[in-house]
Amino acid sequence: MWTKVCQTDDLITGAGVAAMVEGQQVALFLVPESEQQVYALSNWDPVGQANVLSRGIVAHLQDEWVVASPLYKQHFSLKTGNCLEESFQICTWQTKIEDGSVFVAQQV
């Protein structure tokens, strides 16, 4: 089941925006250089305890796409939601782009 969230135009190249999907805050990142193009993970920063990950900087570290939290700079993998510094894993969603629209899959 896919939920249509917004248009690709609404995303920011190389950075994140937040969306509300079925009552959950999702951070969407548009990364044209990557395989997956669009990533979706929880907007909740478990270290800083705030909904801010969509506002972090996207980084490419040792072959992995990550976002650095704007609060205390921990890195979260865009693909797996794994935190590189501490033992946290946050939710991720599958995504796809079709006809200029961005879709997020229901969580499994």
């Binding site: 190249t13 950075a15 900087i57 490419h60 650095a68």
Partner: protein
């Protein structure tokens, strides 16, 4: 036998650099357990750094020059008495006689009485307004006299004389140097070297009279004194400073019948004992092998030797010391190593001279050309370190030995690598630290220069070895497999300074372009904001432009400071802290309308907290309409220029500090830099704006403005250095333009000006050379660059509220109008504050 309860009485006479070092070393070795230590000093201060005495004139206070504030002494029960002259020794009863006629018994006595300036008995030498240059008190009286004097003359063109001449010049006096010998620095330099130095110094507007004997000093007509010279000529001068050499202070030794040298100095053996077994002499008062050592490093070695002997270590001995020196005199490099005069039998000489650029270099080598025996450098000391290592370690000279003093050309052999130095090579001669000591420290886990300095003391004396120490540490780290990378991150194999130059020189306008040309991969949260900042410093584009937005840290991306709960604070610019009632009212109204927490900041402005991302544009629209601009509290850029009310209102103010603060804030607002920059301007020396703790500090004087640079509050406070005095408005701005742009151009990322200054090779005097004397020929470029930034200033918030595309990025959710349910406030002291986790849980429970 001595027991801890019955300690031996050890008395040190003289609390100068060497006497203090002796006590420090003795304590470090546990000597205070077996000795009850007492020290007498004739000066009113405890030991201070005489080597850097001249910095007293360039802004350092007595406290900064102090080598101890007494706490070390107190901690180890060392008794100390300042302002107390020891007047005699009774060796039979083992007692000292003090100036107030009391006596003090000793078991062991250390004489560390230093030396005194020699004043040649020229008729008139005792006139008023004549001085010597040795103590803080000397400098106080020179400064006092210089207030009313116009010209000053130093008698003696040696090392100290030229340093004193520099001091007189910096006090604003027209300066003369009178030297009896045919050349300057006769001890260290040969004739040609002295000539080159003379012409360099003349070019600095200091009049040099060599080969000149003074017959008498009498009343002057146009100035306080007239100095009549042997050849019948004369000069007139208001102030005279004698610097005609030093003499060992051996009065106590003479009086008590200790052996002294023919020309003075307390004779010592290799253990630093005098002719009386219970009395040691160390430092400048001591005579070893008929030689006096007028530098601090040999004195320190003597101190260590005496300590070792007292502690029963028989292996340590003093066997002479190297007297090589390198200095910057009046901005001219001078170096002298070993046998500078080529007096060794059969020695051969290489000479390089460049009259066009005032450079002179000489190498003295052994008859077979294999070893370096000595050297003279004038004009450029960059050759010194390598030559000194060849000399000190008797390393075989390379095939083309002359290349060591030739200007660097393509393909020339590089300087002596650290590899070539033996483990025993001395890296820091002041504290006798060898390459092996550094290597041991690094192996023990010390990784930073700072830690190594603290532990080994290397580079904490004259500081001349700083560059060599750095190389040595890097070399050791490398040997341990620790990579000493100066790369900014894995995506760019460059330093921030390299990247800045690439952007500028190649006209690069975006991150993508720079990455494509000079980087690899896709970038990260280190290189993106750093390059975003560089692009902004150079081109000053709007930071939320499409190609720049993903580079910005969250604060820059939303032009506000993110708080712990994800909301933002709003700080409008309030230049100089001056604000009208109307504007205050607007701030109050906006805060009320959006229910924001309000606080006056430490930077003299007003911060409104608790705005959500989506509210930011609306709030800023109201503020911009009321005439506010962004305060850039979020940027690595100019923050605030603090000010005091100054002469407009304050009864003490000597200039309009507030107008100056506002002008400076308006000039530099918007300048993106490696880290934030703060200024302050005070209206007089009472310094109510705390300018000396700022990156740029300005204090009004009767004659204009004094400029202080590179101060810091924060985690590691640092007082600013006095950079220039009595500047007019235009020169002040010109200097600040240059300093800031040079900082922007050369600092590392996230390096405040204070740390930048501490790491700048050559420090304050180098920065002065670059900014005041334009030694790099950069000033034009720096000013042009700054003018570009000033001319292209835009209020980022004004641009943003007029830019539809930018406004879109402030939506809380791209697909929804909801609020962040995790942002919850409670009331405290009649304002909002973020709810704690517990409070949130309770609120949710209530709601259910």
């Amino acid at each position: 036998m001595t027991t801890p309860t019955h300690k031996q009485r050890l008395v040190v006479v003289g609390n100068g650099m060497v006497g203090h070092h002796f006590i420090e070393t003795l304590i470090a070795q546990g000597g205070h357990e077996s000795y009850q230590i007492t020290v007498f000093g004739a000066e009113p201060h405890l030991a201070y750094d005489r080597v850097h005495l001249s910095e007293y004139f360039s802004g350092k206070g007595a406290a900064e020059l102090a080598m101890t504030d007494g706490s070390l002494y107190n901690q180890h029960s060392v008794k100390y008495v300042t302002d107390c002259l020891v007047t005699g020794i009774d060796r039979d009863s083992k007692e000292l006689l003090l100036q107030d006629s009391s006596t003090v018994a000793y078991d062991k006595l250390i004489l560390a009485t230093g030396s005194y300036p020699f004043v040649p008995p020229i008729p008139g030498h005792q006139r008023e307004n004549t001085f010597v240059y040795r103590t803080l008190e000397d400098l106080d009286s020179i400064r006092e006299c210089a207030r009313t004097a116009k010209t000053g003359t130093v008698i003696g063109g040696g090392l100290l004389g030229l340093e004193a001449a520099n001091a007189l010049k910096s006090l604003g006096l027209k300066t003369h140097v009178v030297e009896f010998a045919p050349r300057l620095m006769p001890v260290q330099l040969d004739e040609q070297g002295g000539d080159v130095l003379k012409s360099m110094i003349k070019a600095l507007d200091v009049t040099v009279h060599t080969d000149t004997a003074t017959n008498e000093i009498v009343d002057g007509e146009t100035a306080y004194h007239r100095m009549n010279f042997a050849d019948g000529s004369y000069i007139e001068t208001d102030l005279i400073l004698f610097s005609a050499g030093i003499r060992p202070q051996d009065a106590l030794a003479t009086q008590s019948g200790l052996a002294i040298g023919e020309r003075g100095g307390i004779a010592i053996n290799n253990q630093c004992r005098t002719s009386d077994n219970d009395i040691y002499a160390i430092g400048e008062c001591a005579l070893w092998n008929n030689r006096i050592f007028g530098l601090v490093a040999p004195g320190y070695t003597m101190a260590k030797t005496a300590v070792a002997d007292l502690m029963g270590d028989v292996t340590t001995s003093f066997t002479g010391a190297d007297m090589s020196t390198k200095l910057k005199l009046l901005g001219c490099d001078v170096g002298s190593i070993g046998d500078a005069h080529a007096t060794t039998q059969g020695s051969k000489v290489f000479v390089y001279q460049d009259e066009l650029n005032n450079a002179y270099r000489k190498m003295v080598v052994s008859e077979d050309g294999k070893k370096l025996l000595g050297a003279v450098l004038v004009g450029d000391n960059s050759y010194y370190d390598t030559l000194l290592q060849y000399f000190l370690n008797a390393i075989d000279l390379p095939e083309q030995a002359q290349s060591l003093i030739l200007p660097a050309m393509e393909g020339a052999p590089a300087g002596l690598g650290i590899d070539a130095l033996p483990a025993t090579a001395s890296v820091c001669s002041c504290h006798n630290v060898t390459k092996q000591d550094i290597s041991d420290a690094v192996s023990a886990g010390l990784m930073s220069i700072g830690d190594i300095k603290q532990t080994t003391k290397a580079s904490t004396g004259c500081g001349g070895c700083a560059a060599l120490l750095k190389k040595c540490v890097d070399h050791e780290l490398l040997a341990l497999g620790v990579e000493v990378s100066t790369d900014i991150c894995e995506h760019f194999a460059y330093t921030r300074q390299d990247l800045f130059n690439l952007v500028k020189v190649e006209g690069i306008k975006s991150f993508a372009e720079l990455l494509g040309k000079h980087g690899k991969g896709y970038g990260c949260e280190i290189c993106k904001p750093a390059i975003g900042s560089i692009l902004a410093s150079v081109w000053n584009d709007y930071v939320l432009k499409k190609e720049h937005i993903s580079l910005q840290d969250t604060n820059d991306r939303f032009l506000a400071n993110m708080q712990k709960d994800g909301t933002y604070s709003i700080v409008p610019r309030i230049p100089g802290g001056e604000i009208t009632a109307d504007k205050l009212i607007v701030l109050g109204q906006v805060a009320k309308e959006y229910n924001l927490y309000t606080k006056v900041t430490g930077g003299q402005r007003i911060d409104l907290f608790g705005a959500t991302m989506a509210q930011l544009p609306d709030i800023w629209k109201k503020l911009v309409d009321a005439g506010f601009e962004t305060g850039q509290a979020y940027g690595k850029s100019l923050r605030t220029v603090k000010s005091c009310v100054g002469s407009t209102w304050c009864r003490y103010g000597v200039n309009d500090s507030l107008s100056m603060a506002i002008a400076l804030e308006n000039r530099y607002k918007g300048l993106r830099s490696p880290h934030k920059i703060k200024f302050a301007v005070s209206g007089c020396t009472r310094e109510c704006a705390e300018a000396q703790s700022k990156d740029i500090g300005v204090i009004a004087t009767e004659g204009g403005w004094n400029l202080y640079v590179c101060g810091n509050g924060g985690m590691k406070p640092r007082h600013g250095d006095l950079f220039a005095t009595d500047l007019d408005d235009a020169t002040l701005v010109k200097y600040i333009d240059r300093i800031l742009m040079f900082y922007v151009k050369t600092a590392d990322r996230l390096q405040r000006t204070s740390v930048w200054m501490e790491n700048l090779e050559g420090g304050l005097s180098y920065l002065k050379d670059v900014v005041i004397r334009d030694s790099l020929g950069l000033c034009n470029e720096l000013e042009t660059q700054m003018n570009h930034v000033v001319d292209t200033f835009q209020c980022e918030w004004k641009t943003t509220i007029e830019d539809e595309a930018a406004l879109k990025t402030f939506r809380q959710f791209v697909n929804h109008d909801a609020q962040d349910e995790n942002v919850v406030f409670v009331q405290e002291r009649d304002q909002i504050r973020p709810a704690t986790l517990d409070e949130k849980a309770q609120l949710i429970a209530k709601a259910i």
